[in-house]
Structure formats: structure tokens, C-alpha cells
């Protein structure tokens, strides 16, 4: 093709253009075309035939955005909110949902990380930030941000999930959207220091059984954590996917308790106090307690239990463009705050029968794990489910199994199996497979 001017690419296709144009008028030309191009007679793709705008103009200067931003075409890939998941539509004490249907792999970009605040997003001046650690320790301390960050760091890929993830659906499906069914969670690489390293300096007294973690935002968000967890794997983190925490995630510093309620991972952290008795914070009494059908509530319900969700297909990403016989990947995310995902099973018939899916990519403790099952699309209606198993031996329960013990008013810690109904046309709908009984 070297003899053809790069600026006149169209000329290279003139023969195909001829057949295409002629085909519209002449039956014999179609026959001729079929002989000469036996594969198919299709209109040529304009995007291939002609030069594109971005190939014939000068692009932006490379550092137009010193902090890079996504392509403008990705503007619908954003967190979403619903006034029904807030007080009177007030977005200072509300939650935004991660667009799980658009996320790939196991790392959530920082701008898409789900966010929950109780008194708005605080903007902490890092120069005025102080962290105080005191109580039942031999030596209480105050740290500036620089002093804190001078501790040796560790990085972990960990999920964060609001225990209210899926809370709107205890009584039945309400949102026809993956983003709103399970979007109160994200997964990121968090960097900070293990609390045990700092406590080694401070000397924890043997009488210390609990730790109060207190935020510096307007709600002074605080929670009580058992010291046993603090010493096992708790961290104070200052980085998220390689950069400083976003303000929505607690800039400059938040607590990180791998596998436990995101609400316990206190943001805008200012104070840790060690004590012999629990504190009874507002967010571990009036909220974040699981009211069971007995009328009594579970308190200090820390771990997010084994869970999974099919992300492809999903209501936002249907199979409407598939043809019979297409081989397609059923893909999803599994996670467990109790340990590491060992297996995921997929059901195509609403949980009557399961087949084992394959795990793929990094399989890490208390982190999202991707799973895959290859399926030949046959246009038959399906009730798609995934069910995960972790190395603590926990198996994700069905809606009925969980509900029969907890009831439907628990709000938090709902981890039962999600069902997508795939209709003949490939559209995907959020449904539940369940049996409801009321006492006579």
C-alpha cells in the first residue's frame, strides 16, 4: 500500500465501495459480490473507511490535566445516590454507591469508592492533624501526620463494605440495578502502619480489652473495637491505591480493620483510647445493631460474612446483544471478612442445582476475588445465582436461610444469595428466590 497516499485512504477501498454501492441496485452485482467476497456482504464500517477526527488533528498538550481525569466519554461511570437512602434527601448523612457494573478486576478507582458520611465530608488540614493514642498504655502519645507516616508501612488489598449493603432488600427486591443492590462496597490497596507496631512503642497494659476510635468530623464518629483485633491485623492507613486517602475516605488518616464493618474503620481519625470496658457509641447502639425477629438485637457484629455477586450480566449490563450459541463469561466478585474465598458456585436455575465456577486473578484474604463461569447462551430464561465459600468454612446462605434466623428487620449484615432473572431477550432483572412464612 506504500504507493497510496496516507491522506487518501478511501481510495484503497474503492473496489469494495463499488460493490457495496452497486449491490443496492443490482441483483447480479450481489451474486458477483458473493463470489468475489464469499464471507458476507456487509456495509463497510465508516469508522474504518474514513479517517477519524482524533487522527487528523493535534491532541491536547500532555499535561493539560496535571492530575489526570477519565475520558469524557466515561461520564456515566460515577457513584450514584438515592434520596431514599438518606434523611429527607440530605446528602450530608447518606451513602453513595460504587458503579460495580463498570468496575474491572479487584481495584476500585479512588473517585469511584463508595462513600458514607454522618455529618458531611470533612476537610482536614493535614498540617493541623493530630492523632492521640492514650488510655491503658504505658506511654500515651500525640503524632503529627509526618511522624505517623514515618512508621514503617504495609500495603494490603482489602474490601470495605458498609454493613447496610443490600439493606433495602430484606423484604424483597426494590432496585433493578447492581449498583444499588450491592454498591455499598469497594476494594482498594491501603497503605499504613500496623497498630501493633505503634503499640509496641507505647506498651499496652494487660487490662486493656477495648479500643475507642474517634473521628474528628462533625459527628465525631466513634466506635469500640476489641484489642484482640487491634493486635491481629488492624492498621492506621494514609494511602489508597498509591495516593493520599480521598477526603471522602477519611483524609488524611483512617482506621482499617480488615474484613470488618466499614463503619468501624473510623475516618478522619483523631483519637484512640484503650480501656477495660466498651464505650457504647451511638453507631454501635442506636445504629449498626441487627434487630432480630425475637425483638432482641445483635450488637458488636463485626465481620462482613462470606458474600458474592454476579457483575456480568447484571441489570445495567444485559445480554440483549447476544446471539444463540455465543460463548459468554458469567463473571462476578466474591469476598469474605472471615478469611479467603475458596470456592464460588453458580446456579442457572435459581439455586436448585449448582456448578463450580473458577476463581481468577489474585485470591487474597478479606479482598474481592473474581470468579468466572463460561456459558453458552441459549436464549432460555435463567435464574442466575452465585454462592461463595471461605476458608473458615462459611457458605453464603440463601435468602430464606438467613431470613429464617434473623427476620427481615435487621437492616445490617445481609449476605444472602442474589438472583438475577435473565429473560429470553437477554434483559436482566433483580429478583429474589424466597419463602415467607408468618406465625399463625
Amino acid at each position: 500500500m506504500s504507493n497510496i497516499s496516507e491522506n487518501k485512504l478511501e481510495t484503497t477501498n474503492s473496489r469494495r465501495d463499488f460493490f457495496k454501492k452497486t449491490a443496492a441496485y443490482s441483483v447480479s452485482a450481489i451474486a458477483a459480490a458473493s463470489i468475489m467476497a464469499p464471507a458476507k456482504l456487509e456495509a463497510d464500517d465508516h469508522n474504518i473507511i474514513h479517517h477519524v477526527k482524533w487522527g487528523t488533528t493535534l491532541g491536547d498538550e500532555l499535561n493539560k490535566h496535571p492530575y489526570g481525569i477519565p475520558s469524557a466519554y466515561e461520564h456515566n461511570v460515577v457513584r450514584r445516590t438515592s434520596s431514599l437512602l438518606s434523611s429527607a434527601g440530605d446528602m450530608h448523612a447518606a451513602v453513595s454507591m460504587s458503579p460495580l457494573h463498570e468496575l474491572e478486576g479487584i481495584v476500585t478507582p479512588n473517585g469511584l469508592h463508595f462513600t458514607r458520611t454522618h455529618n458531611g465530608v470533612a476537610h482536614v488540614d493535614p498540617n493541623k492533624f493530630r492523632l492521640m493514642i492514650h488510655g491503658l498504655v504505658e506511654k500515651p502519645i500525640v503524632l503529627t501526620l509526618d511522624q505517623l507516616k514515618r512508621y514503617p508501612s504495609e500495603s494490603r488489598l482489602l474490601f470495605l463494605e458498609c454493613p447496610a449493603n443490600g439493606a433495602a432488600e430484606w423484604k424483597g427486591p426494590q432496585f433493578n440495578s447492581l449498583q444499588f443492590v450491592k454498591g455499598m462496597m469497594s476494594n482498594a490497596e491501603w497503605t499504613g502502619v500496623r497498630l501493633s507496631v505503634i503499640l509496641d512503642d507505647l506498651g499496652l497494659k494487660p487490662t486493656a480489652k477495648w479500643m475507642l476510635a474517634e473521628g474528628s468530623d462533625g459527628s465525631e464518629m466513634s466506635r469500640t473495637v476489641p484489642v484482640e483485633k487491634v493486635l491481629d491485623d488492624a492498621m492506621i492507613v494514609w494511602a489508597q491505591n498509591g495516593e493520599a486517602l480521598r477526603p471522602e475516605q477519611g483524609y488524611p488518616v483512617r482506621l482499617m480493620l480488615p474484613g470488618w464493618e466499614a463503619n468501624l474503620c473510623v475516618k478522619w481519625l483523631k483519637r484512640l483510647e484503650f480501656g477495660a470496658e466498651p464505650w457504647y457509641c451511638k453507631e454501635e447502639t442506636s445504629k449498626y445493631t441487627v434487630l432480630t425477629k425475637s425483638g432482641k438485637a445483635i450488637q458488636h457484629f463485626y465481620p462482613l460474612e462470606v458474600n458474592s455477586i454476579i457483575t456480568n450480566p447484571c441489570p445495567e449490563k444485559p445480554w440483549s446483544d447476544l446471539k444463540m450459541g455465543d460463548l459468554v463469561e458469567i463473571e462476578g466478585i466474591a469476598w469474605s471478612g472471615h478469611g479467603t474465598i475458596t470456592n464460588v458456585d453458580v446456579s442457572l436455575d435459581g439455586g436448585d442445582n449448582y456448578v463450580e465456577a473458577q476463581l481468577k486473578g489474585l485470591v487474597l484474604p478479606k479482598s474481592w476475588t473474581r470468579f468466572s463461569y463460561m456459558h453458552k447462551f441459549d436464549g432460555k430464561p435463567m435464574l442466575l445465582q452465585s454462592r461463595s465459600v471461605d476458608d473458615s468454612g462459611n457458605v453464603q446462605p440463601s435468602v430464606s436461610q438467613e431470613k429464617d434466623i434473623i427476620g427481615v428487620e435487621g437492616v445490617y449484615h445481609r449476605n444472602s444469595i442474589v438472583t438475577w432473572e435473565v429473560k429470553k431477550d437477554g434483559s436482566v432483572h433483580n429478583v429474589q428466590v424466597r419463602t415467607d412464612n408468618c406465625p399463625a
Partner: protein, 424 residues
């Protein structure tokens, strides 16, 4: 009815070579497994070498899909199958922990160098500790000095709290309801006919009064937290206890009742015993451990059934919630540029955003919403002097200057002007 893909199972059990490691764990039986296969998958030469001395069926010749088999022992090939780690099932929360040894923890390497004696930071001063160590606990730790009456609390509540929490704490404004309802309602299940939602109010649900006064002190009033004096704090607390018909020493909290530290220490909340596991006292942590150990306690009762597990009926969405922002879309196009692109916000608009929008953005709080021409026409009819006066001094449910006393009178007037002009 689905044929198991044996390749998948084999693939997930593929072993990677590793150095000799002592390990123990639990293996969940997969379809197609035999004991010999499992032993091999785990990298052992025999069941004895794997330390498998019993199986759940009780008969070493019978294993069932989903059975969990405990193994211990030293393998020449460690079970380093991706994602299968050396877990110990001893975590407080019912899960596993991963021991750290020789610089390895699961797939992570960790730093084994000496980290003791870093000693960053400094010891806080006594005044610094006093300034920040202000939490309050059920035993009365941290209760401040001061006092306030139910009647004083009533006045404060009307101006500072009612616009969100409703008259007498009865809710209805979209924010949490603080009073009313019954403990009996906590058993309600809305999937059953004729049942309302359980009422989780201060009087029916909150276990400790320390939580109430501590939270009000730190987090309320919502838009201007930490602005109550200690006397005001006791007054508002007294008012809320009175609205919830909570008694102290058998005495009802009448208007003239004055609450202080000593009296607050005597409060026993009605739902004090409504929570489990019990976390107080020397056995608190062990109660938590015991609770999580029995998975039936918290609904973790999934079973790994593979075939003929049973059919249940399908419940579809009855009334879909579609009120989401921004609206659903997966289209990849260029965002629409709004006509008359937005310029920089005026100072008045910024002040409106931070001090007034909470109530005036919508009509949820009973305040005239910005942009509502009819509502504002009625307001303006009174004359701007009156409107400005109301904004500065407070009016009906609205606190003076919207509760932000840092605003000057002129700033308030500018905000009012912005609100009026945005509603024409």
C-alpha cells in the same frame, strides 16, 4: 442436572511447589473427591501423613460433598494453591487468622526487621488530654458538670432540633424519630400482614443514656455540632428523656425537673437488656467469641448443596425505586454542556450552601424551598425588612441566622437576597 466440569475442579486444586511448611487447615469436600484424591490435592503422601484421623460421617470410607475435613501435619509440598493459605480457625469474629512466619503471611511478604523503639511523636500534655479525652461511658465517666431543666430543653429543642426531628421528637421530617413507639414493636416483621416497622427510638431501643448525652454533645445540633453549653446539654437530654417517658428514681420528668450528673447516673434505659452478646465486664470478650463461634446465632447457615437443593418461588420487584442521582445510564457519549454554563458562585450562594441549604433546598423541613416561586411570593409579600428580620432573629422553626451565629447581619441579608432572586 448440571454436569460437573472436572477440569475446573482439577484446576482449582493445582499445586504450586513450595518449601516444606508445617500447616493445618480444613478442606471442603468437592464433587468427585475421594479421600485419596484429597490427600493428594493437599500435597500429602497419605491420610496419616496429612494427620486426618476422622471425617464428619464418622466412617473413614464415607465422605460427602460439603463435608469439612480437618488436616494437620507437615507436607513436602505446602498447600500453596492460589488462595489456600495456612489459616488458623481461632479469630474472635468466628473467622480465621493467618499466622506470620518467616516473612510470609498468605500471599504477602512482610517486613521482619526490628521495629521496636521507633518512638515517634511525644507525650501529650495534661491539658491536651483533658481537651480531647471527653468521651462518656455508662458508668458516668466523662459526664460534665452542669444542669438543665426539661422546660429549658423544650425551648432549645424547638429552635435547634424540631426542624429535623419533628415536634416532641416524633419524627416525620425524614430524620430519625427520637420518641414514641413501643418495645413490643421491635418484634414486628413487615413481611407479615398488618405489621408496621419496628420503632427504634431512644425510649424503645437505645441501651445506655451515656450514648445520648455524649452524642448530643459531640454531634448536635446537626449543622452546628458541639455548640451546646453543658447546661443546655443537660436540658436537651432531660427533655428527650421526658418525651420518652423515662423515669429517674421512679419520678416522671415534669417541666420543672432539673437534670444533672448525679441524676443522669441513675437512668436505666428501658431496652437496656435488648442486645446480645453481653459485652460488659470481665467476660465481655469471651461472650463475643462464644457468640461468633455458633454460626446459627447470626444466620451464617449456608450449606454447600450442589444438586436438587430445592426450588423456591420467585419474588419480583413490586415498586421499583428509580429515584437515583445521576439517572441510570451506561451510554458512552460526551456529557451535555448546560446552557449558560455555571460561573463561579457568589459569596452569598456559598454561604447559602453551608448555612441554609440543609433546610431550604427542599420543602421537607417546612421551610420555603429556593426556586419555589409561589412559596417565596408569599414570603416576599411581608416586605423585605420583615423577611430579613426573620432571617436574622429566627422565625417559627428557624433558628436565628439559620443557626450559624458566625454570619454578620449583612451576610444574612445577602443570602436572603440570593434566595429571593433564585426563586423568581
Amino acid at each position: 442436572m448440571f454436569k460437573l466440569n472436572s477440569k475446573l475442579i482439577a484446576a482449582s486444586a493445582a499445586l504450586a511447589l513450595s518449601s516444606t511448611l508445617a500447616f493445618a487447615g480444613t478442606y471442603t469436600v468437592q464433587p468427585g473427591d475421594t479421600l485419596a484424591k484429597i490427600v493428594s490435592k493437599l500435597g500429602f503422601s497419605s491420610a496419616t501423613a496429612a494427620g486426618i484421623t476422622a471425617v464428619p460421617s464418622g466412617n473413614m470410607n464415607v465422605i460427602r460433598v460439603g463435608d469439612r475435613i480437618e488436616y494437620t501435619g507437615e507436607a513436602s509440598v505446602a498447600p500453596s494453591t492460589a488462595g489456600v493459605y495456612n489459616a488458623t480457625k481461632n479469630a474472635l469474629d468466628g473467622g480465621v487468622t493467618y499466622p506470620r512466619a518467616n516473612g510470609v503471611e498468605t500471599a504477602y511478604r512482610y517486613n521482619t526487621q526490628d521495629m521496636s523503639g521507633i518512638n515517634n511523636g511525644r507525650v501529650p500534655t495534661a491539658n491536651e488530654l483533658k481537651a480531647w479525652d471527653t468521651d462518656m461511658m455508662p458508668d458516668g465517666t466523662g459526664y460534665p458538670d452542669g444542669q438543665g431543666s426539661v422546660e429549658e430543653g423544650d425551648e432549645l429543642y424547638e429552635t435547634q432540633c424540631a426542624s429535623c426531628h419533628g415536634e416532641f421528637g416524633a419524627g416525620g421530617k425524614g430524620y430519625p424519630t427520637l420518641s414514641g413507639g413501643s418495645m413490643k414493636s421491635l418484634k414486628n416483621q413487615r413481611t407479615c400482614p398488618g405489621k408496621d416497622a419496628p420503632k427504634r427510638t431512644i425510649g424503645t431501643y437505645w441501651p445506655q443514656v451515656s450514648t445520648l448525652i455524649w452524642y448530643i454533645r459531640d454531634a448536635m445540633p446537626y449543622a452546628h455540632p458541639k455548640s451546646f453549653t453543658n447546661d443546655q446539654l443537660y436540658a436537651v437530654t432531660a427533655y428527650l428523656l421526658a418525651q420518652n417517658e423515662i423515669t429517674i428514681d421512679g419520678q416522671e420528668l415534669e417541666d420543672e425537673y432539673v437534670l444533672n450528673r448525679e441524676k443522669l447516673m441513675k437512668v436505666v434505659m428501658p431496652n437496656h437488656d435488648g442486645f446480645f452478646p453481653k459485652i460488659d465486664g470481665p467476660n465481655g470478650i469471651e461472650n463475643v467469641r462464644a457468640f461468633f463461634k455458633d454460626r446459627k446465632n447470626y444466620g451464617a447457615v449456608g450449606i454447600r448443596c450442589m444438586s436438587n437443593c430445592g426450588k423456591e418461588s420467585v419474588m419480583r420487584i413490586k415498586n421499583e425505586i428509580t429515584a437515583v442521582v445521576p439517572a441510570y445510564s451506561t451510554v458512552r457519549d460526551l456529557p451535555k454542556v448546560e446552557a449558560g454554563a455555571v460561573g463561579a458562585k457568589s459569596q452569598a450562594e456559598k454561604d447559602y450552601d453551608t448555612s441554609c441549604s440543609l433546610c431550604h433546598k427542599t420543602d421537607a423541613m417546612g421551610a420555603p424551598p429556593v426556586g419555589d416561586k409561589d412559596a417565596w411570593a408569599t414570603v416576599i409579600k411581608q416586605g423585605m425588612d420583615v423577611v430579613n428580620d426573620h432571617a436574622i432573629k429566627g422565625f417559627a422553626g428557624m433558628p436565628p441566622k439559620g443557626g450559624n451565629m458566625d454570619l454578620t447581619d449583612q451576610q444574612v441579608k445577602d443570602i436572603v437576597k440570593f434566595m429571593v432572586e433564585s426563586s423568581k
